[in-house]
């Protein structure tokens, strides 16, 4: 790009230098009448970032001059009069301004770039990284398009070192470097997703069709958004609107054999060159029961409908937008996964296949979940001399209903939670002359959780109100051409005010009556009403270096400290968790978990190949996790008794991604990742660590044939050999014997082959079509996945043939 306005580079915008009136005028002007001794100083700056514009031409009457390197120009010996200035610059739109001269006057003039250049600037700012020293994995629009019938968790798995923790075929949660749930923060269009992410069987409420780009930061927080991302951050964004008078959009429809369903998705954007725009987007997906190679997984279908609207004004120096999105779904949970006791699980494991297998159906019966997530965001920004100030308000309402197999009225949910979150944030981004940037911000958040008592089932997550307040500051500076340093710090304060009915027997057994007598509101006999209140003060920080070896090679080093307060489930769990057939007990005395993550990334890329090697070590102090400690008899039999514990943990691993192009259109890609996690004290492996996996891909493209692309992917997942042995002996009274309940042993290794192909057409009347044809699990392998919570009850999906046609205009 050859825009001079930008070439001037970043400069200290709060440039008091503009007061340093330049006495050096390039074009000195003849004097007029005798009382004409007034002086007009002008500085011409880039409206977008405040950069001074050199060689801007300013004309008035017969006077003419051009600005110097600092954008300054002085006209001397002006009379008291009104002058009409016309200001022009080769890269910018010309403007006319009038100025009344009564005394010496200073005038700052902002010029706006030509439209096409604005467009480029917008694209650049859109591609800006969230951190300059943290390596970010990106998922492009193309990959998102290929996965448009899937869930976010599945798309994220395409990134090396990211896996997913599933509950069946549809519910999938991202796992970054072995960590998930509350340790992985999701940012949807600048808003931290508050969707009860703590639950393993809660999938993120994001429609991938509303997203154009995803960035993944492993092992560190993007301090602008959060300080508690011990595992990492996922940043999902829709693209910036164009600054042209145009209409564009896309319609996609897809079908797949497994689940015998599909989806349609469309989006439409209207923009205009004056900056106004709106965008509408909608998705509808419907699937029936998924199938393994051998049997139907009864009641695993789902229905999802989403929509999003965005409208606003996008000017270079100011703008605002309103964004609303609705994500809602209804999904079946494998019928046979309803276990109640350890013996139910033993029977399920022994049976190998589910005990209820019915014919294929689109019905979504009980057990099922019904989720809706509303997000409303208002955002505005304005560029000042001291930087870009933006303000954001967002509101989220997450409604989760879980219907269970129960006696009596099944139209009533067994779990009904409503989580409402309001946030207001101010962010300031400043650029300085010495190629450094400062981002600072402040945020306040209010959250309220309401578990509806009408369920007739004990509340799993109590009523609570949470007040957050955060401050952050991130500074980066280019130390030389090769070295870049970034450092940031964030402070988070949280106050939790909860109301919870505890079983009095548990309250006393946990010694809470002595530890927290101040929490007790009323002893009701069987239950005790309590009002636990907590304050958490957390500091998180980040320091990173990026070294550019040369144009194509970079090294990133980063140390990040994340602090995560315990989530409601870790604090308040108290009782039987049916879907896991175990009693889960939280702890009110937990403190925050602190992660120290060190990562080193080497990246090299040239025209033919790219290589990324990433290693990390994450030392987590007071890591919160659950272990089985005992057995507990109840009237329904004996249950394993799991308690949340805080112990120090360590995780480390590395991953490699290497792509290379051979000849002109032959391409080979490799990905490998390994992650290990242990308790620090006794080296006991952590549960649910992703197994080692290796992916290889060969593809061949024929550009002459409508960009035909054919590729074959192989994915080999090793057996996880390191796992905690949480097995225990269960007494089976009917047979008068003890049997081992083996929920720990991971299933075997598996190998999957996938075929993918795509082709594009450009019809004469405009637009373009893209057809994707894909077969997953080509060999129709029957296998189980260690990271599927329902693996005791079912195998994974069999062969899946998928076809998608998309038209964009």
């Amino acid at each position: 790009m050859n825009c001079k306005c930008k070439k001037c580079g970043a400069s200290f915008t709060s440039k008091l230098a503009l007061v340093l009136y330049s006495y050096f005028s390039l074009c000195c002007i003849n004097s007029f009448a005798q009382n004409c001794d007034k002086r007009l100083s002008i500085q011409v700056i880039d409206l977008h970032d405040g950069t001074p514009l050199e060689n801007a031409i300013v004309k008035t009457n017969d006077l003419k001059g051009s600005t110097d390197f600092d954008g300054n120009l002085v006209f001397e010996n002006l009379c008291e009069d009104t002058y009409v200035l016309s200001i022009s610059h080769e890269d910018c739109e010309s403007i006319v301004q009038t100025v009344d001269i009564k005394k010496d006057t200073f005038r700052k003039i902002r010029l706006e770039h030509h439209l096409n250049e604005l467009e480029e600037i917008m694209i650049i700012s859109n591609n800006r990284n969230n951190s300059r020293t943290l390596f970010e994995n990106k998922i492009s629009k193309e990959v998102l398009d290929d996965y448009n019938s899937r869930t976010l968790g599945e798309v994220l798995k395409t990134v090396t070192g990211v896996s997913s923790l599933n509950s069946g075929s549809y519910l999938s949660k991202p796992v970054i470097n072995g960590l998930h749930s509350s340790r992985v923060i999701l940012i949807n269009n600048g808003v931290r997703l508050e969707d009860q992410e703590w639950g393993i069987e809660h999938a993120p409420s994001i429609d991938i069709n509303s997203i154009d780009k995803i960035s993944i930061i492993k092992g560190a927080s993007a301090l602008k958004y959060a300080g508690d991302a011990v595992g990492g951050v996922i940043i999902a964004e829709s693209s910036r609107e164009k600054l042209l008078d145009t209409v564009y959009g896309n319609a996609t429809t897809n079908l797949q054999s497994n689940g015998r369903g599909g989806g349609i998705s469309t989006n439409f954007t209207k923009t205009s060159s004056n900056g106004w725009y709106y965008r509408l987007q909608g998705t509808l997906k419907r699937m029936g029961d998924f199938e393994t190679p051998d049997y139907v997984m009864t009641n695993t279908g789902f229905l999802e409908h989403n929509l999003s609207l965005k409208a606003g004004l996008n000017r270079i120096d100011h703008g605002f937008d309103v964004y609303y999105s609705l994500f809602s779904n209804r999904l079946g949970i494998l019928r046979s996964s309803h276990a109640h006791t350890a013996i139910d699980i033993i029977n399920a494991i022994e049976n190998d296949i589910p005990h209820i297998i019915e014919d294929f159906s689109y019905d979504i019966n009980i057990p099922r979940q019904k989720i809706s997530h509303n997000l409303l965001k208002l955002r505005g920004f304005k560029n000042f001399d001291f930087g870009k100030l933006s303000m954001r308000y967002d509101f989220q309402s997450n409604d989760r209903k879980e219907y269970d197999i129960r006696r009596g009225d099944r139209t009533r949910p067994a779990l009904d939670l409503n989580l409402q979150t309001h946030s207001i944030a101010f962010d300031l981004e400043s650029k300085f002359e010495n190629n450094s940037n400062l981002k600072t911000g402040i945020l306040a958040r209010y959250q309220k959780n309401f578990p509806d008592p009408a369920t007739g089932v004990k509340r799993i997550i109590p009523d609570y109100k949470k007040y957050d307040f955060s401050l952050y500051s991130v500074f980066d500076i280019g130390l030389s051409n090769d070295w870049l340093l970034e450092a940031g710090i964030r402070y988070d304060f949280s106050h939790i005010d909860a109301y919870k009915y505890y079983r009095t027997s548990l309250w006393e057994a946990r010694n809470y009556d002595e530890l927290f007598p101040e929490f007790v509101v009323e002893d009701l006999g069987l239950n005790t009403l309590t009002n636990p209140k907590f304050d958490f003060h957390n500091i998180s920080s980040n320091i990173g270096l990026k070294y550019s070896i040369n144009n194509s090679e970079n090294i990133f080093f980063n140390y990040s400290m994340s602090s995560r307060k315990p989530n409601p489930s870790e604090l308040f769990s108290e009782g039987l968790h049916h879907s896991s057939a175990r009693i889960e007990i939280g702890d009110l005395s937990f403190n925050s978990e602190i992660g120290h993550n060190f990562s080193l990334t080497y990246e090299s890329s040239d025209e033919k190949s790219s290589l990324v090697v990433n290693t990390f070590a994450n030392l987590v102090d007071d890591f919160i996790y659950m272990i089985p400690v005992d057995l507990m008899p109840t009237i329904a039999g004996v249950f394993p008794y799991w308690e949340y514990k805080q112990e120090d943990a360590k995780l480390f691993g590395f991953d490699v991604k290497y792509d290379r192009q051979y000849f002109t259109n032959f391409f080979i890609g490799h990905q490998f990742s390994i992650i290990k996690g242990y308790e620090r004290e006794n080296d006991k492996p952590l549960i649910n660590m992703p197994p080692v996996n290796l992916k290889n891909q060969i593809s061949y493209s024929i550009p002459e044939m409508n960009n035909l692309n054919l590729s074959l992917e192989s994915e080999y997942v090793f057996r996880q050999k390191e796992y905690p042995n949480n097995n225990f002996e269960v007494f089976i009274p009917t047979e008068n014997i003890y049997t081992t309940l083996d929920t720990s042993t991971p299933p075997g290794a598996y190998h999957l082959l996938n075929f993918a192909s795509s082709i594009g057409f450009k019809p004469e009347n405009g637009g373009n079509y893209k057809i994707n044809f894909r077969i997953e699990n080509l060999l129709n392998n029957l296998y189980k996945n260690y990271l599927n919570r329902l693996r005791y009850f079912t195998h994974e999906m069999g062969r899946n043939i998928m076809l998608s046609v998309s038209y964009s205009y």
Binding site: S390, G408, H422, G456, D463, L524, T634, I635, P733, T734
Partner: protein, 182 residues
């Protein structure tokens, strides 16, 4: 200063959110719970020989263990008419869950087994499909000895089935009573 206009826009929302109700949440009627199972055995030969076996766990999934009681020994060579009552004593007054189970009898089945003592169990009630339910049964101790009787209430078993191990479903109640047969 557009930015502040936007900030003003947000205020109503914040205001909206601050509808602080200091009300404490209402207690929940835990309807799903069964706290008590009482098995009554009446000797067919001698109506005054009534044995009751009971398990009672008033704090549900709380840490207190269920209390299991058996009123006396059974007599060998006779038979007993058995009936079962389930209660939810967390509710006040206690809810009789038996009625609900009888109403949904095609979704429930009680399984009986004995160990250490030789016993025979015969179902006396059947659902609309002719499959056994087990709230009414006959228990016949065949010989003297001591051992245990396990009674299991399964929700949504496959029906018909060949026994507890393969019936699937989920176990609502499972209790082993120590018994002596004289």
């Amino acid at each position: 200063m557009k930015i502040f206009k936007y900030a003003l826009l947000a205020i109503p929302f914040l205001y909206f959110s601050c509808d602080d109700d200091n009300d404490t949440p209402e207690p929940i009627n835990e309807e799903e719970v069964i706290t008590t199972m009482t098995v009554t055995l009446v000797n067919h030969q001698n109506g005054s020989d009534v044995i009751t076996m009971q398990t009672q766990d008033l704090d549900g999934d709380g840490p207190n263990e269920p209390v299991i009681t058996v009123s006396g020994p059974l007599t060998a060579g006779t038979s007993y008419a058995g009936s079962i009552v389930w209660l939810n004593e967390m509710e006040d007054p206690a809810e009789n869950v038996t009625e609900e189970i009888v109403e949904e009898q095609d979704e429930h089945q009680v399984f009986f087994s004995a160990s250490g003592v030789d016993m025979e169990f015969v179902y006396m009630d059947f659902d609309s499909n002719g499959n056994p339910v087990g709230t009414q049964f006959v228990l016949a101790p065949l010989g003297a000895g001591s051992g245990s009787v396990t009674i299991t209430l399964v929700h949504e078993p496959a029906k018909p089935n060949d026994g507890l191990d393969t019936a699937g479903g989920s176990i609502d109640i499972q209790t082993t009573f120590p018994v002596t047969v004289e």
